[in-house]
């Protein structure tokens, strides 16, 4: 007899871990699937035997949750990739020993987090150009810097946090460029201070942020990366109040490392494969899942927590992890509506603040559509398949108006990453031509690159029983 899972949580970041710990108290069979090497997602880089506490209170709170999580009886499948999921809640997962397992849970919580987006420019695919998220992850996991010099650029807040972490670890920031002007940043600051949890984080990071701010150049952006086989220099330009490059302001700066980021976008490949519907609202971070007041998606018994419902950071992820857990309990009949209301009322109020903070973040991470529309023809859009801007605009010229039709025509999105890097760029290019696509790029099993011999191997349930 196979073990019947009441709930499968996809993702062991802040949202997923909080959901698991909340549900664990109600004697349910819980399974958490995560592709990371260690639990904690991209924000909390938990090391079993390493020192990785931080000055930032939210981070340390997350670290505590991870510690509770690893000692809890929850089934935790680490370094495990979802190969297939369908609208019948059937999940095929590849474990870290390369075996294929089938799970059929009663309910699912998607806590799949977000990934970083970068507005493309000529040469952004050169080695040596990394995202500010990658920079943060490498710093947090190792506790030290990895290059003598670094130039940091971007918009929003992530490049600030990454820069502050680099300084905290004793690194030197050669230059720091911010697309946003000072009034934008003031708006961000006041929104951050309006949320109590963020206030503590903000003051913890303030000394390093001020150090960054002293050398920061506001209203600049990277327009080209140059180098033979790897990054050697970047071209920067000043931007006007509308985020457009001021002609004649371009200058070149030598560097072997550039960290750049323009915000976050939710990971929805797995959720859309399960049939969850999406909608597009750039105020809350672009493409997100349709959810109701219970954080339930368009698919009954499937819930979303954290970035998949809207971009909003760690606080929102934690709150929604807990709220979605109570919704699962209500769905499974473990609590009644009265108890549900009691358990969630305070959380829902805090969530409003977190959502509002997310909106401020998202307002600063929108692509500049004028620039996107006029990207140089040879700019790479799909990095995996090496598809250039020219091919995308030609496809649009032929009358194609969706990410999926452009994928079929040009192969953009057919490579190893399955469109995770380029699909949102194609969406922005389409938008710059007046076409709004509100669907996720079509995903196909296997959702992750998987060798044929693994795909051909026997599938069993987690307890080893035959499917």
């Amino acid at each position: 007899m196979t073990k019947d899972y009441d709930v499968v949580i996809i993702g062991a970041g802040f949202a997923g871990i909080k959901a698991a710990l909340t549900l664990e108290k109600y004697s349910l069979n819980i399974c958490v699937i995560d592709e990371g090497i260690l639990p904690g997602g991209q924000f909390i880089r938990y090391k079993k035997d390493g020192i990785n506490s931080s000055k930032i209170p939210t981070y340390n709170k997350g670290l505590e949750l991870v510690k509770q999580f690893v000692s809890s009886p929850v089934t935790y499948l680490k370094q495990s990739e979802l190969i297939l999921i369908n609208d019948q809640k059937e999940i095929l997962v590849k474990l870290n020993n390369d075996s294929l397992k089938m799970i059929k849970p009663k309910t699912i919580i998607f806590a799949t987090g977000a990934r970083e987006i970068v507005q493309p420019f000529k040469g952004w695919d050169l080695p040596g150009v990394i995202t500010t998220g990658a920079m943060q992850i490498l710093l947090k996991t190792s506790g030290q810097t990895f290059n003598d010099e670094i130039i940091i650029a971007g918009s929003g807040i992530l490049h600030y946090v990454a820069g502050a972490t680099w300084l905290e670890k004793g690194g030197k920031v050669t230059s720091f460029y911010d697309v946003n002007t000072f009034p934008d940043k003031f708006k961000m600051l006041t929104s951050a201070l309006a949320s109590s949890d963020k206030r503590a984080d903000f003051f913890a990071m303030l000394p390093d942020m001020l150090k960054l701010q002293m050398s920061a150049k506001n209203g600049y952006k990277v327009i080209e990366a140059k180098g033979d086989k790897k990054l050697e220099s970047i071209i920067l330009a000043k931007v006007d109040g509308n985020n457009n490059v001021i002609k004649g302001s371009e200058f070149e700066q030598k560097t072997s490392l550039l960290a750049i980021g323009n915000g976050l976008v939710a990971n929805l490949d797995v959720a859309t494969a399960a049939g969850c519907e999406t909608f597009y609202d750039e105020q809350i971070g672009g493409l997100v899942l349709k959810t109701n007041q219970f954080l339930e998606t368009s698919q009954k018994g499937i819930f979303a927590a954290g970035a998949p419902s809207s971009i909003g950071g760690a606080d929102k992820a934690e709150l929604e992890g807990e709220i979605s857990a109570y919704s699962v309990l209500l769905n499974l009949g473990k609590i009644d509506e009265h108890i549900y209301k009691e358990l969630t009322s305070v959380l829902l109020t805090s969530r409003k603040k977190a959502v509002s903070f997310g909106k401020t973040l998202s307002s600063m991470q929108q692509f500049n559509l004028d620039e996107i529309k006029n990207l140089p023809e040879e700019t790479t859009i799909c990095r995996c398949e090496n598809i250039k801007m020219k091919e995308i605009t030609e496809a649009i010229g032929l009358g194609l108006t969706s990410i999926n039709s452009i994928k079929k025509k040009t192969r953009a999105g057919m490579g190893n990453c399955q469109g995770k890097t380029c699909s949102e760029l194609v969406r922005a290019i389409l938008k710059s031509h007046g076409h709004i696509d509100t669907n996720h790029i079509k995903t196909r099993a296997p959702l992750k690159p998987t060798s044929i011999d693994i795909l051909a191997s026997e599938i069993t349930f987690l307890d080893g029983s035959k499917v």
Binding site: K47, E116, D125, I130, L138, S142, K229, R383
Partner: protein, 82 residues
Amino acid sequence: MSVNNHTIKFGTMQFQANKGELLLFSLLKNDIYAQGKAHNRNRGGFCGMGVCQECIIELENGETVLACQTLVDKDMEIRDDD
């Protein structure tokens, strides 16, 4: 040499890495930026979180892994076709 160190070979290059550190970190720290196998190695780690697939490397035993999703836990030999 401390027991916490492992030897990493990347093509003809060789260096020491600490046990438990991310392989991508070890490579970047040793100035190996173009690890990826795609497009004549003109690609390297970009997202750091297992999304972009650009830091994919081939170990001597034929196994392919993402450098950003691999912790150094043994001596490793990485093929360099460049």
